[in-house]
Symmetry: C3
């Protein structure tokens, strides 16, 4: 089982889920993806799941970022490649499913026998998702969990903006990591399509936001590794997930650029 939530590690929430799963499937191994998704930030959870799932062994993957817990939103299980993803039907899971082959089967979590028992009101990770995952890991087929759903009925987040023109990539900040590296929604292919490649330079325009005015940084090096620029300098590169990204060698690009996920950027090939 792999496990991603916004539960944090201050409380015993994650451990309660581990415990419930271990009571059902004592030999089940759990890889904690992260529990530091900011509360209710579905997009951040979706990004980290999609980055990580391709590197897992065939797994039951539980994702819980769930502002609508207990309300009418459905719980779902979806099969994708060698994985089964389980969580709320609020957009958290499909991006991860996409990168391992797309959703091949989807069901609504309805069968009461795979829940913990009792009213499940405000803690579906413990009461529904973790026990369901342990049962699936132990061999229960998706079809036993509840009624089949059409793949098209599974809720998706809006696709992030990526627009390629000759010499230009318009996109948005997709993710900022622990080091302050700024991953864009555009991918290596988009950079190639825009005619931008390692060894060249780009100008970067950051669009204005409610928090601040637009601004431009000129002549950024396009490279392959952080050490292609001096410590403290900005670089554009393709990160280890295949996305276009901005970093500061041994520094924090997000802090230096004052950007956050969702901010719009345009990269334009420059003479220098």
């Amino acid at each position: 089982m792999a496990f991603l939530t916004d539960y944090g590690q201050y409380d015993g929430f994650v451990a309660a889920c581990h415990g419930v799963a271990a009571r059902i499937a004592p030999d089940l191994r759990v890889i904690d993806v992260t529990h530091a998704v900011p509360p209710q930030d579905i997009r951040r959870g979706a990004v980290v799941l999609a980055q990580t799932v391709p590197y897992l062994p065939p797994s039951v993957v539980v994702g819980v970022v769930d502002p609508g817990v207990g309300s009418e939103r459905r719980g779902i299980a979806v099969a994708a490649g060698d994985h089964v993803l389980i969580g709320p039907d609020n957009g958290l899971l499909p991006w991860a499913a996409d990168v391992v082959g797309g959703i091949s089967e989807a069901v609504e979590l309805a069968a009461p026998e795979y829940r913990l028992g009792g009213d499940a009101l405000t803690f579906h990770g413990r009461d529904i998702f973790a026990p369901t995952a342990a049962h699936v890991a132990a061999g229960v087929p998706l079809s036993a969990l509840g009624p089949a759903l059409s793949v098209g009925s599974v809720n998706r987040l809006p696709e992030p903006r990526v627009r390629v023109r000759p010499g230009t990539l318009e996109t948005e900040v997709h993710s900022v990591d622990r080091f302050g590296n700024v991953e864009l929604a555009g991918r290596a292919d988009d950079l190639v399509a825009a005619g931008i490649s390692a060894g060249g330079h780009v100008d970067v325009v950051i669009e204005s936001t409610p928090d601040g005015p637009g601004r431009q940084i000129s002549g950024l090096a396009v490279g392959r590794i952080f050490a292609d620029v001096s410590p403290g300098e900005l670089i554009v590169y393709v990160d280890s997930y295949g996305h276009v990204a901005l970093a500061v060698n041994q520094g924090d690009a997000a802090a230096q650029l004052m950007v956050e996920p969702g901010n719009d950027l345009t990269l334009t090939a420059s003479g220098r």
Copy 2:
């Protein structure tokens, strides 16, 4: 083994304990409950242990929040239900024992053969509690660990304040979680006994503290799930541990109410 401490995860303290246990019992699985208990906050550790232990498989549970490490305070092991709890005799363990059936046996940790060896002075998690737990998980009976203690001699924290009168529940903040949800010491039964139920409303009086004056919030909805109120609104509900709690739908109730564990509150049924 389950493991709760105030060691944090900045250092290698938790890993050293895992390592010591793995050398004794190589196949022992460990569920980390949390290591983010604020330093020396025994009550916080006791609350999280009591919330989590009922969801674990039968386990040896190690708890270490230990301001008196190395002094005359005893180390103990207590049996409760299917669990054995091990840690300092400073009140950390009994609340967890209570929720899984109460302490049925207690011993003082005295036998040197289940310790790591060397002087155990300032790191009893590594030198005494983790190796003892691994030995117990491997089959060593409690009676081998040291002299039996009477259950009544095990130190307990003061019971939190809960007083029910018709239409009124007087209690205190028991715990604040990662989301800012405010768990009270009073339980679902107390709310019923006070005649307060979902669908009604309450007035909440927060008593003055050294940090601020008393205040009142009127007409809070009593509900079952966060979505029973609009985003940003306060709700009174029974949380997933069976305690009365206050939350803000998709927000942080503790920050909004400016309360912390130990603060006294009175809930009174209101017309609206």
Copy 3:
């Protein structure tokens, strides 16, 4: 496998490494040492590894604090005692090797068949170190990983300052832990050699730094456990790793003394 990085737990970096290792060696157990090393702080990583490795079962230990990732710096595997340590050749590993018997064999990581595949540019933890470790745990000998290196060619950090004279120990802050306890580079033996022992007192001179002037604290008790002084008082003691340390009983010595790793201190035996 044991695993220490500066990756943090906000992203899925650690989980991707766990996943890659689990695909190669499904039964491999992983003990996470810490992932909270401050970004690029090689010395902090080296200290925590050296503190923790002696308490692990025979393990493959992966350490990744790697400001030069992707550049010409080598990846290495070194055998030391019952352990194999794997990571960048930047000084991170040798201190841990020293405390378990010293480096007996060293190789450069060059063989492509133990890597994940693809270009390994900016995430060597996932692409080189974790898969190599899993292969070594599964039985691949060091000699298969790449060309042998002389032990003397492995890069080491500068040794921290420790100078003993009669009645005086000159040393530097080696590490500050989660509780604010201040571990010095000097060890128990150095304290004995300086003629300072529990029950006595010392004067502590903190040298000036770019951030503040020098200062002196007189008459600190030398003790064995925190409770040898009253809550809130400073104590000098030998910590659980055998180093001389300063603590405040139930308080934060680093905050009170305003010191950080690398600051120079002198302890001098005093009449009181």
